[in-house]
């Protein structure tokens, strides 16, 4: 399975097990979503469980919160993460805080799925990585898979979770892994072990990172597409790096991170979002708080620039192999 199929399978399985689960969003019904993540679900589960919505993101999330209040478990799709901003208030002030403000009387167990990230020539309105905004909000969980196996298991866990979850899908690797060299094609997932996705039910627990590659020299903290970029760079440069795929940003698996950095003494954080106040800042601060005496070099951040995502220059924006390679060199020199 590729990642889209894995996501589709996760929703399908959850809907089959629990008829409280409903899917809503722009074009998700008959058409199956612009990326086809919900294909076939309406035919299988009917129009009252999988349905198209008007183009109003605050409406989609607001309605989902209301449905959750009724007792359903909505899985709304925001067509591109760039369009989540109109829904921000419903996510931040409502979904995230409903349990808290009502002292548990009301909850909003919704899982908001949304494709994010660049590398598809989407310009500044189809490429953003807004995960840092949501990790800053108390009460939301933030999940980002990097491969089909995790995508399915994490999505099932997210849908079954009783808290509101934002599930960011790295669209650049929907169809296959990608090492960050823009002139190299995306390889189909079928060539990789992570595409061996079981047909049936399984979960990948939220809050547990994955060691993608063990190593002794430096710890690379990555998620989503950047996991593949890191793998490519490490393989090319022959560095004995430990690559950690965070999988969930909130809750974060600090234990795995700290253990790794204490072993390697070096840490590079990589993400596609802009640098200033990005999640990389949080990661570097945590590493500094927990591993300071083990560090042999300052923590490096490899990120997108603090500019909007440009259309024609997107590969110069993308924190690809060159930028990551330079950071690894810097951190290894110290």
């Amino acid at each position: 399975m590729n990642m889209i199929q894995a996501i589709n399978s996760a929703i399908d399985i959850c809907m089959g097990r629990d008829d409280e689960i409903v899917v809503l969003g722009e074009d998700v019904g008959f058409f199956g979503g612009v990326f086809k993540a919900t294909e076939g679900l309406q035919a299988k589960y009917g129009k009252t469980r999988v349905f198209d919505t008007p183009i109003t993101e605050c409406g989609i999330i607001g309605v989902a919160v209301g449905m959750a209040t009724y007792g359903l478990r909505p899985v709304p799709e925001i067509q591109f993460a760039d369009y989540i901003y109109p829904a921000l208030d419903q996510l931040v002030s409502e979904a995230a805080r409903l349990r808290y403000r009502s002292a548990g009387e009301y909850t909003a167990p919704i899982t908001v799925r949304t494709p994010f990230g660049g590398g598809i020539f989407g310009g500044q309105t189809h490429s953003q990585s807004p995960e840092g905004i949501f990790t800053h909000v108390a009460g939301l969980k933030t999940v980002i898979p990097s491969n089909p196996y995790d995508a399915k298991g994490l999505l099932i866990a997210a849908i079954e979770d009783n808290d509101p979850v934002i599930f960011f899908e790295p669209k650049r690797i929907y169809n296959g892994p990608f090492d960050g060299h823009y002139d190299r094609p995306v390889q189909p997932w079928s060539k990789f072990p992570e595409s061996a996705v079981p047909e049936g039910y399984y979960r990948v627990e939220l809050g547990k990172a994955r060691i993608v590659r063990p190593g002794d020299d430096v710890t690379i903290l990555a998620y989503g597409t950047m996991v593949h970029v890191a793998q490519g760079v490490v393989a090319d440069a022959g560095i004995d790096a430990e690559i950690i795929d965070l999988r969930t940003l909130v809750p974060l698996d600090l234990e795995t991170i700290a253990k790794s950095v204490k072993k390697t003494g070096r840490c590079v954080v990589v993400h596609e979002a802009t640098k200033t106040s990005g999640f990389g800042a949080e990661l570097s601060a945590l590493v500094q708080e927990h591993c300071f005496h083990h560090l042999e070099a300052p923590v490096q951040r490899v990120t997108g620039w603090d500019t909007p995502y440009p259309h024609s220059l997107e590969w110069a924006y993308f924190p690809g192999p060159v930028r990551l390679g330079e950071a690894l060199k810097r951190v290894m020199q110290d």
Binding site: T56, L98, R99, T107, P251, L254
Partner: protein
């Protein structure tokens, strides 16, 4: 542009008719006649109901007689119960307003003059219909006979506050009363109520939902998203707009009232719209009942504009004498909702001044007793009564490590500081 011989454009900025110090004159207020508006069948297509968005449903005339097709013909017990609930809301507001002035809580909001819009509506709904209130619908809880003490505990953020002292006063939540947790962000409850109604419909349930917001809040995007959803899916929801003429210091013109009515918002969405006299409990009851029947019959949503007046300040933090004429509330042409219902039941011969005075004393006593009971559990300022640890609860279903760590840190800090 140069060389174009055109007059300069000018920007229209709305201005209310009366400002502080002005004598108010409602002589030109086009007083709609009670009983004049037709009562359509509940299945009527929204397109055929256009006029109802511009007219005003009124049942009680100036003498307190019920007139016309919207007269809900309520049993005497129901009328008297509504009257009592309205009096109780007013007494409750009076008590807590004073408690705020005495420094026992940080904030309070009255609904004086608007009691009918929530009490009569609640009486026309079923108890298990779900309410998504704004902050001025304490009447819903009162009409559902929710314990006053519990409401006061919330206002005082005391030990008995089920919401653990997290919400500002008056931001109630009462799941058992089918009363949604109130948000401080205006209009967010609108799409939520529609979603609840959609879920109920999708499930083949029979319960409907109702939602309230102020006329000022209709300018929020959430309001319009909600109307789109409600229309598209024919959601069984009653969309109430309480037009009390003022949004803090901004008059209704800033939400578009100069150009149209708020009920007419429904027209563009293909929703049934009703405009009612919000100070006429019978009109509010009748409109709500009509809308509820319509929703239950799968005929879709109804938007009801309740035309009323906010007789007091926006909240205890507001001084309305700074921006509007003091005469507005006393001269309000549609009168006071309690006085009007009282006049009606007296005219019916089922009530009199003596009983009314006795009832006023009785509800005041009830509130006083409830306040005593609630204050025994503390008020906001005589010591923070909530356990400090509770701050970290309910952020997530299970407390993640970083919150456990922060809660431990707080405990350690307090211990080290000797508190």
């Amino acid at each position: 542009m140069t060389g174009r011989n055109l007059p300069p454009l000018s920007l229209h900025v709305p201005e209310p008719r009366f400002r502080p110090g002005d004598a108010v004159d409602f002589a030109d207020f086009d007083m709609p006649v009670a009983g004049a508006v037709a009562r359509p069948e509940i299945g009527t297509a929204p397109a055929e109901m256009r006029d109802h968005s511009y007219a005003m449903v009124r049942v009680l005339d100036d003498q307190g007689h019920a007139q016309g097709p919207w007269d809900p013909r309520l049993a005497p017990e129901t009328l008297l119960k509504m009257l009592r609930h309205m009096a109780l809301v007013r007494a409750y507001d009076e008590r807590l307003y004073r408690a705020q002035r005495q420094g026992k809580t940080s904030f309070y909001m009255k609904c004086t003059g608007e009691e009918a819009t929530s009490i009569a509506a609640a009486h026309a709904l079923d108890y298990d219909d779900m309410c998504f209130p704004s902050y001025r619908q304490q009447g819903l809880l009162i009409a559902r006979e929710w314990p006053l003490v519990d409401m006061m505990n919330q206002v005082f953020s005391n030990k008995g506050d089920r919401l653990k002292g997290r919400q500002m006063p008056i931001m109630y939540s009462a799941r058992q009363a089918n009363f949604f947790s109130i948000s401080g962000n205006l209009a967010t409850q609108y799409p939520q109520a529609v979603g609840w109604a959609m879920a109920s419909a999708a499930r083949g349930d029979t319960r409907i939902s109702a939602v309230w917001c102020g006329e000022g809040s209709t300018a929020e995007g959430d309001f319009h998203s909600a109307l789109t959803f409600a229309a598209v899916y024919r959601a069984p929801v009653i969309l109430n707009v309480i037009n009390n003429q003022w949004a803090i210091s901004s008059f209704s013109g800033f939400a578009g009232a100069e150009a149209t009515t708020f009920a007419a918002r429904a027209v563009g969405y293909g929703i049934a719209g009703l405009r009612v006299d919000g100070n006429d409990a019978l009109a509010v009851y009748a409109a709500t009942q009509w809308a509820a029947d319509r929703a239950r019959g799968n005929h879709g949503p109804t938007l009801i504009e309740h035309f009323t007046y906010r007789a007091e300040g926006h909240s205890t933090s507001d001084d309305p004498t700074k921006y509007r004429s003091a005469e507005e509330s006393t001269n309000w042409p549609l009168g006071d909702p309690i006085a009007r219902l009282k006049q009606h039941v007296i005219a019916l011969g089922i009530w009199d001044e003596e009983r009314h005075a006795a009832m006023d004393r009785e509800v005041a006593e009830l509130c006083k007793a409830a306040q005593r009971e609630s204050e025994a559990l503390g008020t906001l300022h005589d010591g923070l009564k909530q356990p400090f640890d509770s701050m970290f609860e309910d952020v997530f279903e299970e407390m993640p490590w970083h919150l456990k760590e922060q809660s431990q840190q707080m405990r350690d800090e307090r211990k080290a500081a000797g508190i």
